[in-house]
């Protein structure tokens, strides 16, 4: 209360103290976050001549990319893989999050989340390389399977490989976010459902899931964004044939020197993600139909 009153009193005059804390991030983010993104959008209209980028305003890159079949193949593949990854992660994570939210003590839950946060911030790239070795034709899994007379199975350079990578990236985060949203569900409502004779399964999908909907959708959204933008898994584990959009950006930038065309791909990705995010958030915050 006190602090707010103080700030309104001072609002009229220039407040040096307030500005010292407020301004740095604005300047920093405008210069190094908004600036780069806007420039990238502008760049998608530039031209490349003799390996040099010329500032221009032409639709050429857009027309070029949109008329290529490989661009659309990449687009559908990336979108499909990210959707699949989101569904799989949501389904795999749910029982674990459910158990962590309802079946364990607060202390245990805190420890499990503590452990799950570690891999989320830890060397994704090295973990993927490790999967590469584990999933290989003569790798750990096939070696184990051969003891029981199975395999070898080809897991690298398949969609399975890509998905293993996506799960490595997303699963810890999805479990954490789902657990938080489930743990926030009012336990009294669950008890009420039980008292009224609702079966456990029915309680889950008609009481718990609707109540935790927002968090569950946000978790899925993060999973989609992470999978959609990841290039390591589809490249090293999925074999990159055909390339996903992020790999297309790398190829176009690194080998082709075609930054403007890479920018087209990046802008299309951004537009897709923004659309998905708005749709997901609208769904997440939609009130249930009144009865």
């Amino acid at each position: 209360m006190n602090t707010q009153k103080k700030s309104t009193q001072k609002k009229r005059r220039f407040n040096l103290y307030a500005m010292v804390w407020r301004t740095p991030i604005i300047v920093w983010q405008l210069l190094f976050f908004v600036g780069p993104l806007l420039f990238m959008i502008a760049m998608s209209f530039f031209l490349v001549k003799n390996y040099r980028m010329i500032e221009a305003f032409e639709m050429k890159n857009w027309i070029k990319m949109f008329s290529k079949n490989y661009f659309w193949d990449s687009y559908y593949l990336t979108f499909g893989l990210a959707s699949l990854s989101t569904i799989i992660a949501t389904v795999i994570a749910f029982p674990a999050s459910f158990a962590l939210a309802f079946k364990v003590s607060d202390n245990v839950r805190r420890w499990v989340i503590f452990l799950l946060i570690i891999p989320f911030f830890t060397s994704y790239l090295v973990r993927i390389f490790s999967w590469y070795v584990i999933l290989a034709e003569s790798g750990v899994i096939n070696a184990m399977l051969s003891y029981v007379g199975l395999g070898p199975y080809t897991m690298l350079n398949t969609m399975f490989g890509t998905l293993v990578g996506y799960m490595t990236l997303c699963l810890p985060l999805v479990v954490i976010l789902q657990t938080f949203s489930l743990a926030n569900v009012d336990k009294n409502l669950i008890q009420a459902a039980k008292n009224l004779g609702c079966s456990p399964i029915k309680t889950i999908y008609s009481v718990i899931i609707p109540l935790a909907k927002t968090g569950l959708i946000v978790a899925a959204l993060f999973c989609f964004i992470l999978s959609f933008g990841d290039f390591v898994s589809p490249y090293y584990l999925g074999g990159s044939k055909p390339p996903t959009l992020p790999i297309l950006i790398i190829d176009t930038t690194k080998s082709g020197q075609q930054w403007p065309r890479a920018a087209v791909v990046a802008v299309v990705m951004m537009a897709t993600l923004i659309t998905i995010a708005f749709a997901a958030l609208a769904l997440a915050y939609k009130k249930r139909a009144s009865r």
Binding site: A18, R22, F33, L37, T122, S123, G139, A143, A262, A266
Partner: protein, 266 residues
């Protein structure tokens, strides 16, 4: 009773399997870093320090490690300073356009790395700061400042709002109250934020790869080795990276969980 026990066991095993999935790449990488086989698989061959000796004697690895340490420590300081200032502004003031302000700060982690990488590369080339060590630092600070902000903001949630006002009433200037009330209270969160942002920067490869030019960081170097073929050196470097970043993340979490009471008693 019996049924719920079976269910409980099932759920525990299920969580166990998820942990196996999440941690097995880390553990296998560590095991294989001590294994003499050129292609890491089971059964294991003999124990060896060979891969560690190779990377120890590799000046490129040392160079990359040096770059990584410089980048992640500079990033940690800048991101934490920015994050602190922003968290404090959000905690203390209400102002117009606060929504867009917070969006501006918190959005970077939702943008795919590869898009940020391309945008930063193009922008830095445009303004003539491409390929420098500080280009990586700038990019990483943008990406990690939101984490710093979140950690410190959550800490400020626990402060008694009247504490700062009490200091003013006792005659302290705003600056003095900041120095003697707010900063000490936030100290655990600041340490936590320094460690976490350093860890994220230490592990980041996409943006670093695009904007680093010739100043390779460790993850960029790993990526170049891996693109060639399977090389067990990666397991040794990887183990080093895992241990470094896991330590940082664990320290960050421990400081983050420090109880408010302990700190305010200082």
């Amino acid at each position: 009773m019996k049924e719920s026990n079976t269910l409980k066991w099932f759920l525990w095993i299920y969580i166990g399997l998820i942990f196996v999935f999440i941690f097995s790449p880390i553990i296998f990488s560590m095991i294989f870093s001590f294994n003499s086989a050129r292609f890491p698989t089971i059964p294991l061959e003999s124990f060896t320090w060979h891969w560690y000796e190779t990377i120890w004697n590799d000046s490129d690895v040392w160079q990359a490690a040096k770059t990584s340490v410089i980048v992640s420590s500079c990033t940690a300081v800048i991101a934490t300073a920015l994050g602190f200032a922003t968290a404090y502004s959000d905690f203390r003031y209400n102002f117009r356009f606060k929504g867009p302000y917070l969006a501006l700060v918190l959005l970077p982690p939702t943008i795919p790395l590869i898009i940020l990488a391309l945008a930063m590369l193009a922008w830095f080339s445009k303004i003539g700061t491409s390929g420098q060590i500080y280009s990586i630092v700038i990019a990483h600070s943008v990406m990690t400042a939101p984490f710093a902000m979140a950690i410190i903001r959550l800490r400020l949630n626990q402060i008694d709002e009247n504490l700062e006002a009490a200091a003013w009433n006792l005659g302290a200037s705003e600056w003095r109250a900041m120095k003697e009330v707010i900063l000490p209270f936030c100290k655990p969160a600041i340490v936590s934020s320094l460690c976490l942002t350093a860890a994220v920067s230490f592990d980041e490869f996409a943006v670093a790869w695009f904007v680093s030019g010739l100043n390779k960081t460790i993850p960029v170097m790993i990526m170049e080795i891996v693109t060639g073929n399977i090389d067990p050196r990666v397991n040794a470097i990887g183990t080093f990276v895992f241990i470094t970043s896991m330590t940082l993340v664990i320290i960050a979490q421990i400081f983050f969980m420090t109880r408010p009471k302990e700190a305010s008693a200082q």
